[in-house]
Amino acid sequence: MTMASSRQIELAREAGKRIHHFHGGLRLRHNKKISCLDAVERPPLPAVLVVPLLQHAGDVAEALVHVGDTVLKGQPIGQCEPCATIHSPVSGVIESIEDRPMSHPSGQKGPCVVIRPDGKEQWIELKPLDNWLDADPDCLITQIQSCGLAGLGGAVFPTHAKMRDGRDRKTHTLILNGVECEPYISCDEMLMREQPDKIILGARVLRRVLGAEHVIIAIEDQMGSVQRSLTACAEFAESENISVIKVPKIYPEGGERQLVQVLTGLEVPAGGRPSDLGLICQNVATAAAVAEAVTEGKPLIERYITVTGNGVTHPRNYLALFGTPVSHLVDCCGGYTADVARLVVGGPMMGYPLESDSAPVVKASNCILALSHQDIAEPQPEMPCIRCGECARVCPAMLLPQQLHLQIKNDLWKPLEEYGVGMH
């Protein structure tokens, strides 16, 4: 493991002053506009909600409720240390706790709490922190944890754990990631347009927790309206040391390591994290959720999600409750088109395919992408690698994928380490 030098940490303080480059990358067609035409709404309540007890790396949360229990909206239903708490997205009755498809890249089934909503939408008593500006950072972290916050960019790392690490390691700059570099996905863009105040407020809360000086909100260079809405909001006018920075749209610029490199010109040390450089990255949606958790006491039970692609009739963004079946969202968008071929959670680059649309929306779901036959390649026989080197040219981690492929094909697992596998 390489350590960041104090010189590098000093340089990292200059984050955002200049825009740098990262190795490789791809320029992809955005395909975002089709889902940005309508204002974001909540869809009607589905008949049942299926809330998985495993929503991020780590252990399965322990169910806090039993079959037949009546739950209120926002009531904790799953918990485990150090997971982010899981809350009931509706008021209703626990119909069952059983293994179901849980929207996970593995495609496996896992324990889920199935809730039948009663339609009353009765909240538990919310406990906002009235004077968060004076609150102790530990108190804020506890609030964040009890509200079940996790990174909404896709990795779902529990927010309280990341913030605790950042506070202990003298973070000077908080980076809010609004760079949605995957094609099609527009949920963060819509959130930044519609709820800029919440994002800025959340940024201030997080900055207080970290004891950081600066906040950088990174957005893509073609998001002009987003920049206007962020800098025009009332909360922004009241804040200091918050800058909105546009970065060129090259995939995977929204990756944490690439974003750090673009903003600072520095690389996150191998085996390390951005906090080694005094930086903490959070997704803009996480910041908005932090604002709700602190000022309203509202637990994380819903998120902005894009339902898009040539495979749905009317692409758009929804504010969807966790546990909402994907099929319900697609129905609300007018259903599938005739030539739908594949259903993906996430973007076309890194998303994972769903076998069935009964899978639910979870904290990690930023996009439901229905692709038509024209969008994807028909399955073809695999051809041998001729080491053309295109993979190495675009690799942002500067790996040699063609060499890795060769070693794996020849069952040579030991040399992989030499080529960087297992280092990070």
Binding site: G107, R257, I386, M398, G420
Partner: protein, 343 residues
Amino acid sequence: MTRSFQTSGAPHMPPQTTVAKVMLQVLLALIPGVLAYVWFFGPGILVQITLATIFALLFESLMLRWRGRPLKPFINDYSAVVTAVLFALCIPPLAPWWISCVAMLFAIVFAKHLYGGLGQNVFNPAMVAYVVVLISFPQAMTSWLPPVALAEHSLGLADTFVTIFTGKVPVPGGWDAVTQATPLDTLKTGVDAGRMVPEIRNSPLFGDFGGRGWEWIANWFALGGIFLLFKRVINWQVPVAVIGSVLLLSLPFWLLDPDSNPFPLQHVFSGAIVLAAFFIATDPVSGCVSSRGRLIFGAGVGIITLVIRRWGGYPDGIAFAVLLMNMAAPLIDRYTRPRIYGE
């Protein structure tokens, strides 16, 4: 009502390129050079390309069938065609038909499939084929033609066919009437006999830089190579290193002793340096993977070629140079692995 879908790994988009597309672009890029070849040396090269392609596809099909691989995707990847065309461009246009047969046997069966097929060959198949027939059949492989403009008799398509398939030249005087030493040959034997380079260059075989005709073919190959660079089918490092090392290394020799050493541009525009720099040494399968590795690989090809031309027994040595560097490629790769992000 839930619905099921077929699943497949990311990314969920069609591939940007395929092996067949890469190979087709290489073939396309060779067209200007081949046309120039026909212009200067007659239609023999077209017959050789056709013969080599037929034999290559024949051996490719036999080996695929024998190895139990599907025929269609591998025949349609055009890799055997590229090997055949590159080989045909290296041999005398009137070489007998069985040269292609023997050569493609070694290229496709030995150099390619016995090493594991497409993507697995350690050596450039076209160069293996060329070296095998060059060493085995020196007589047939050194009967070169002068440019059409200089020839006593130039052969039409029908006569070319007769020559290639019967081994007899249907004009008065036979072989002696139609063949002539190449510029590189003339240079080597001349220098060995103690004549001076400027004097040797007075022969009508020489043009402005390299051999007459040859230098223009090289230009058209370079044009095709630039197309491949532009299309990102090849990287700049190998051609720049091959040509750069030839220029740099031959310069001091020429400056010190211009009477027995050709000037640097003559080296570049003679023989197969330009063709090799853009089309042969750039083969990704048998070459190096990193930028630094490719520079070393290309420089090695240039240096070894010059060493063979200057001190070796052959007038041109690029095929040997490519094969020797193919051998060194895995080692070069090992020591030139690029730094990984964060290291």
